[in-house]
Amino acid sequence: MLAELKELWRFRELLFTMVERELRIRYKNSFLGFFWSLMNPLITVLVMTVVFKNFLNNGTENLSAYMLAAYLPFLFFQACVLDSAQSILTALPMVKKIYFPREILPLAMILSNFVHLVLALLVFFAYLIFYVWLRHPQDFPIPATAALLPIVLLIHLALSTGMALIISALNTFYEDVKHIVTVVMYLLFFACPIMYFSENVAYSFKDSSWKYVLYHLNPIATLCTSYRKILLDPQPVISNNVRLDPLPLDWGLLGFAAFFSIGILFIGYAVFNKLKWRFVERP
């Protein structure tokens, strides 16, 4: 694995060029391009907020900010996995002609999506400052814990990279993988605290805490909650007139997620390296 990393480092220039190329293709229509790709999460969150506030009796304050704080990172994971699933097949004509470390293809997808996530988070902060702070100047909406963001981002990046490497390698041989992943991503959206809160989960499992732990074996669920906890002030969750006190950030669960993610990263890289020479020879 060390030799492979060395080789990747030798080709870093190609990786950066490819990331730049991805971003260029994505934002080809300059400034508007970026905002178009932000439209999807913004509208989804807007609709969810309207539905939950009005039809499902959710009285939590600033609900849309809390949803966005979990939904933007979730979308990053989804985009990483789905984009990189196709990355090798799309580039197969090139892969068959020229040598370069094949992991550059999924990695370029991940890094360009990561740049996109960082830009989206900047827009999120801008929203907090302009929309919340200007209306309530007495309290600044970004808490000090937001300084922990890089740690959570790194764990998230490791997990996404590991999964993307596994899925891109497998999808090159079995194109069904992409369809399975699409379905799993759809289910994952409901299995993560995006349109509800981890407090809701704890409340419904209050008699059997092992179920709460089981739920958080999914590291993306932990990550979604962690983004919320560090980017926004803790506040009570109010649904159906039940008031749930905010839970603190669970360092144990985050530690597990970190451990799990780094494990997936190593496994993913090992699987990818084992399969990468056979990409060109696929039947």
């Binding site: 060029t17 190329r21 580039a91 892969v95 002609k97 020229i98 040598y99 079995y174």
Partner: protein
């Protein structure tokens, strides 16, 4: 002769052919017991040296293993057996413009292609004027390459490949592209490359090209080197061999 720049020793490559075509998960799961796997030996032990400044032409019928050999040298495939010792930078000119993206401009694609062939971005930028001048595409270089004709694409691809300062060029079928005038320019550039000590390994069916540039000729037959030597002599034998079955008919 001078020292070698590429040494190929007992090179073997075989592919697994699966008759059920296990491209789907379903077939893989349902037929994993019954699937027939056949081993297809494309190269059965090839050894030769490419020397500095030498140009070798590879001839042979379809399926003789010519393209597989070039792909192995380009490190696209991993050899099944044997070794390849390369002591210089290889630039594959296998299919011109393989990595071009239709929505990006000529310049953006040149940068990308140059980097993939092993240059840094700085080096590509330094060579950009030369590359553009060589391709004669000054007017179109800022337009997306989807607006290019295939001839223009080939010219741009060729221009990048000959400007990456490789020591070894791998060429599959396309030694010269474009119209007659541009082809002449390609040959001039190749002659210049050779006079500077560059080595070329090329696959071709064109006897004129081979006699014009090659110092040596390798004749591949069924994965083995059938003959190795002077291009004139080998091409004469190769062409009479090609013609022989037709005479028999």
């Amino acid at each position: 002769m001078s020292e070698f720049i590429v040494r190929v020793e007992d090179l073997r490559k075989s592919f697994l052919l699966s008759h059920s075509g296990a491209a789907g998960l379903k077939t893989a799961i349902l037929w994993w017991r019954k699937r027939q796997i056949e081993r297809l030996e494309v190269l059965k032990g090839i050894s030769f040296d490419l020397h500095k400044g030498e140009t070798i032409a590879i001839v042979g019928k379809n399926g003789a293993g010519k393209s597989t050999l070039l792909s192995l040298l380009a490190r696209v495939y991993k050899p099944t057996g044997g070794t390849i010792d390369v002591r210089g930078r290889i630039a594959p000119l296998l299919e011109l413009g393989a990595g071009f993206h239709p929505d990006l401009t000529g310049i953006e694609n040149v940068t990308f292609n140059g980097v993939i062939l092993g240059l840094t971005r700085k080096e590509v930028l330094a060579r950009l004027p030369d590359i553009i001048a060589f391709s004669e595409l000054e007017k179109h270089i800022d337009s997306p390459v989807r607006t290019y004709s295939s001839g223009m694409l080939a010219r741009l691809g060729f221009a990048v490949a000959v400007h990456v300062d490789a020591e070894i060029l791998l060429v599959d079928e396309v030694l010269a592209v474009g119209d007659n005038a541009f082809q002449e320019k390609c040959f001039e550039r190749i002659a210049e490359f050779r006079s500077q000590g560059g080595s070329i390994l090329f696959v071709s069916h064109n006897a004129d090209d081979i006699l014009r540039v090659a110092d040596r000729c390798l004749w591949l037959q069924q994965g083995l080197i059938h003959a190795d030597g002077d291009p004139k002599e080998i091409m004469a034998r190769y062409e009479s061999d090609e013609a022989a079955p037709k005479e028999a008919l």
